[in-house]
């Protein structure tokens, strides 16, 4: 393989993200600090939801079980960002926002990125596994995904 021509997906500018939480979302981010991928599951009807919210949309229950997931999934969709539309984005291009269908979570998806992958190899349906990125100021740990 000609490695000089491979374009590897980079990480988006960390400055775009500033973590804010509330009582319903904080457990997700606390688990990420432990490098655990979790999802909110209704304690009554056992259906998952993402992102975590104060009510189960299926049964309106407010009881939540935080389930630790296996950390794998598949690419549901993706885009390759090639052009800077904010100052300072250039060194981070290209990066790949993606929607990941999480394994073991009843089909719920999370919005993330594909990293450590040759962009030409990315396909819808591609199996992926979580990798963890800490923000430069240590304010948050972010789940991203690489080929499984």
């Amino acid at each position: 393989m000609d490695m000089t021509s491979a374009r590897i997906a980079r990480r988006p500018p960390p400055g775009l993200f500033k973590l804010a939480t509330n009582a319903w979302t904080a457990p997700f981010w606390a688990a990420a600090r432990r490098r655990e991928l979790v999802a909110a599951c209704c304690a009554d009807c056992e259906r998952f939801r993402m992102p975590p919210t104060p009510f189960c949309p299926h049964c309106q229950s407010q009881s939540v079980d935080w389930r630790v997931l296996v950390g794998t999934g598949s690419v549901y969709s993706y885009t390759v960002v090639e052009r800077a539309i904010l100052p300072g984005m250039e060194p981070h291009l290209p990066y790949v926002p993606a929607v990941i269908e999480l394994d073991g979570a009843g089909g719920v998806r999370m919005i993330s990125n594909l990293v450590e992958v040759d962009i030409e190899r990315i396909r819808v349906g591609m199996p992926v596994r979580v990798v963890w990125d800490e923000q430069p100021d240590a304010s948050a740990v972010i789940a991203r995904f690489a080929p499984a």
Binding site: P12, K18, N22, W24, T79, I85, M89, M110, I111, S112
Partner: protein
């Protein structure tokens, strides 16, 4: 509500390039479009007694003070963002039919000198909800809708050829329009040699970013009969959407059929029922074209073709003024004419039904206008002459 109200006045500022409307203020642009619409209707500004907005709206108190409107009887804004552009006319009609107001202005405006819409997502405050997308570098709607476009390609075999058919047809309509921002003919070669911005969306899949304002005046059909122009009747105007669409691009958990869509299906069904017409009756459609891929998905949601067949539909030439069965965005749309958060589409539908459009659809009787595919509510409007 059907055929109880009409659009009787139309006003607009020029479509300025992004930032070029300075030093005018955005309230000044809103005021200029409003005064022009009032004059076009043959009314006096003192006749205005209501405002119906979308996407945050404007300050009715300031407008009343500065324009000299003696009494405000209705002032309301649809929730959400650009999804409400067509639906603001329905909100105005609701105010009139319910007897709350008589002469209602619907006005939309952009001024992007300080904040360009292409990067608007990055300007949102850090909230617990936004934390679930902002880390991924989805900076603007163009990035987010690219995810929907990619899924549509995966499910239905839609291609960039299909997207190019939308861009080329709409540019063809802008070429004749002296108000259009981009009037140079666009070729297939231009399209495919353009830079990719957010794969699968290239430069020509994105709408323009203009400054400007467009206003229309809505009043009762009874009163409309005495005014200057032939009334453009509101057959149906409404907003809403399915929970399956919800926050859509900020959620990304829509069921598969809704994910690769424009989120308009529920509104489309109710709109046709209210208007008492079917897709085959529509003579021209002004489809919110922030992205070419979303034009294709709206054509599906509004029943002009089956789900998944939007690509073939646009490639057939159906959407072109010349020889098409459903000419769309006959002014050049937001892709090539001007972007004023969907209000340009209301303007063009009124021009078509008055018979004064630059690219007139012969014998146009019924026009569809759609609001932006965005967070719920989305909206639609069917007008008749």
């Amino acid at each position: 509500m059907r055929e109880r109200t009409a659009i009787v006045g139309l006003g607009a500022t020029p479509y300025y390039r992004r930032g070029a409307s300075a030093p005018r203020t955005v309230d000044e642009l809103v005021g200029q479009a409003t005064l022009a619409a009032v004059a076009d209707a043959g009314l006096r500004v003192g006749d205005v007694d209501g405002f119906a907005y979308f996407a945050g709206g404007f300050d009715s108190a300031l407008l009343a003070e500065t324009l000299g409107i003696p009494e405000i009887r209705f002032s309301a804004t649809l929730t959400g963002t650009g999804g409400g552009s067509a639906g603001a006319v329905g909100l105005a009609a609701a105010a009139i039919v319910s007897g709350q107001a008589e002469v209602v202005v619907c006005v939309g405006a952009n001024q992007q000198g300080a904040q360009r819409f292409g990067a608007i997502t990055a300007a949102y405050p850090a909230t617990p909800e936004n934390a679930f997308f902002s880390a991924s570098g989805l900076v603007g709607p163009g990035h987010m809708f690219a995810l929907l476009a990619r899924r549509h390609m995966h499910l239905y075999g839609t291609t960039r050829e299909d997207f190019s058919a939308v861009a080329l047809a709409i540019r063809e309509h802008a070429v004749n329009n002296p108000n259009a921002t981009l009037r140079k003919p666009l070729t297939r070669e231009d399209y495919f040699s353009a830079p990719m911005l957010a794969d699968p969306h290239c430069l020509y899949d994105f709408c323009l970013e203009n400054d400007g304002a467009v206003a229309v005046i809505v009043t009762s059909l009874e009163r409309a009969r005495d005014l200057r122009h032939r009334p453009v009747r509101v057959l149906a105007g409404l907003h809403g959407g399915s929970r399956d669409w919800g926050r859509s691009i900020y959620w990304m958990n829509m069921p598969d059929a809704s994910f690769a869509s424009s989120g308009h299906a529920a509104v489309a069904r109710r709109l046709y029922t209210m208007a008492g017409v079917s897709p085959g009756d529509i003579d021209t459609a002004q489809i919110y074209d922030h992205f070419t891929s979303q034009v294709i998905m709206q054509l599906e949601d509004y029943g002009f073709c089956a789900r998944g067949e939007g690509g073939a539909f646009v490639r057939s030439g159906a959407i072109r003024l010349h020889g098409g069965s459903l000419p769309i965005n006959t002014d050049g749309g937001q892709l090539s004419c001007g972007y004023v958060w969907g209000m340009t589409h209301v303007r063009e539908a009124v021009e078509q039904l008055r018979g004064t459009a630059v690219n007139q659809v012969a014998g146009a009787r019924l026009a569809l206008v759609t609001g932006g595919p965005s967070v719920l509510p989305v909206s639609g409007l069917i007008l008749s002459n």
